[in-house]
Amino acid sequence: MTQEKQPITTNSAVPFPSTAVAAEAARDDAGIAKEDTAWTDRPEPAAGLAPITVAAPTPEPQDTAEGAPGRAPKMRADSISVFYGEKQALKDVSIQIHEDRVTAFIGPSGCGKSTFLRCFNRMNDTISGARVTGRIELDGEDINSAQMDVVHLRARVGMVFQKPNPFPKSIFENVAYGPRIHGLADKKADLEGIVEKSLKRAGLWDEVKDRLAESGTALSGGQQQRLCIARAIAVDPEVILMDEPASALDPIATAKIEELIHELRGRYAIAIVTHNMQQAARVSQRTAFFHLGELIEYGRTSDIFTNPREERTQDYITGRYG
């Protein structure tokens, strides 16, 4: 495989992860601070005259699962059940995905977390025998309604898959494909602009700018996955779903993906399925724990990993499962 023979030099343009991680941690702190002030300090319209009272550090119990009051979630899933034929894979799950927050779905294999993720852009439609009940809203709009075009939905709710799956086409074509089929660029220059912007956001531009015509499959695994992320952002989605995006990558490539998730947060609502609990802890602000098709616990990541309410969550994250 050529991709394994790719020398490390292709990665050397990027700062070594340790510095990236340090920067990430600093940014995370800032991010968390920003996040917390974002709704504790946010003056309610009515309370605008008395900001001092609002500034009082109120604990936010209502924030654990419901999200901040007065802030509509980007996506809302309500009583979702999924059946594969007779087998029920997901039981009555309700959850909200917010903008500028990363929501992680964790749980043992077969717990339904990937199935659930695929409900948000109706990828389960492509599986014969799969049946979804319940309601999912995108900005308050039912995504399963007749008015919602599934093609548009998938453009608005992008997806990154477990195995890096670039098209066997050039790097440029990989990123340009989405904008092209949706008619997002009239002129070639516009398209080139979108491709460059997307690759930059995905942190891949510097590594590939001189070889856009080369095949996307010739990149290393981590680069391929970032190419797939660039491909997803090229159509300017509002939500990005990631299905174990780093499970096939080595630790350094994984760190880069995680760093990227951090950077993308704020611009997109992100939901990520991961087997790696440390990864969920590192990249997410909200964590949902699934077990046997049920949503066991959903809350702030910092709470889930220090003080989960449910014993099953505790057993899983401390390594006592099964």
């Binding site: 609990m277 440390q278 889930i304 990993f305 220090t306 003080n307 989960p308 014993e311 969550t313 505790q314 057993d315 994250i317 401390t318 390594g319 006592r320 499962y321 099964g322």
Partner: protein, 231 residues
């Protein structure tokens, strides 16, 4: 708490070893207080020296605990309850080491008080020491068993130690006023009482750590109103 062990058994072994270390430290500290008090009552200067020597063991155990905690965090990446346990173990080892220092401090005063005559409060101090040492013993048992209720009960007993301290303080004060010659000895005894009172406070401190490790909540969040520290 979780009734079954980790999938990775070595993780359980590491945690058990850590708990055993804390337990051992607690035993040493408890024994140190008891011995120091016995030496004080019996005027046993040699025994007091032994107590002072034994404190070095506690220091070594504290270092060992710290090393193990760092290793465990690095190698096992503990989460949730495990993480709280490990962090609590680290903090508790520091506090127990302080308790050992108090025992050493009491033992150091044995030589000074060797020639002291009969001072009445001396009869109160062993009982006070018994309660304080008992608190240390029970709170460390609570840690090993992850028993939040036991930790709460330990807190309740701090009041008794404080009461003892008050009464010893008053008695010694009276003594000093009545007999200025006794001031030197009485002051030392006052320090002993103060040390024991601090041991009780530290045990209460450990109880709070145990409570957080076991439940994930801080004690102050739970026992508002009936705060044992308010007394």
């Amino acid at each position: 708490m979780a009734t079954h062990g980790h999938t990775l058994k070595a993780f359980d072994e590491d945690l058990d070893r850590l708990r055993a270390l804390i337990s051992e430290m607690g035993g040493l500290a408890e024994h140190g207080i008891g011995e120091a008090m016995r030496c004080l009552v019996d005027r046993d200067v040699d025994g007091a020296h032994r107590v002072i020597e034994e404190d070095k063991k506690l220091d070594a155990l504290e270092t060992e605990t710290e090393k193990r905690v760092v290793q465990l965090i690095a190698l096992r990446a503990p989460m949730a309850g495990d993480l709280r346990d490990v962090v609590a173990a680290l903090k508790i080892s520091g506090v127990v080491e302080r308790i050992g220092d108090y025992a050493k401090n009491i033992a150091k005063r044995v030589a000074i008080l060797e020639d002291a005559g009969k001072i009445e409060p001396l009869s109160l101090l062993p009982e006070m020491a018994r309660i304080a040492a008992g608190m240390v013993h029970d709170v460390l048992n609570a840690f090993v068993n992850r028993d939040a209720e036991a930790a709460l009960r330990v807190c309740d007993r701090d009041k008794a130690v404080d009461d003892f301290y008050d009464s010893v303080f008053r008695t010694l004060l009276t003594h000093m006023m009545e007999d200025p010659h006794s001031i030197r000895h009485a002051t030392h005894l006052l320090f002993v009482a103060k040390n024991l009172e601090r041991v009780g406070d530290h045990a209460t401190n450990i109880a709070e750590m145990v409570y957080y490790a076991a439940t994930g909540r801080h004690m102050s969040e739970r026992v508002k109103g009936a705060d044992p520290l308010a007394g």
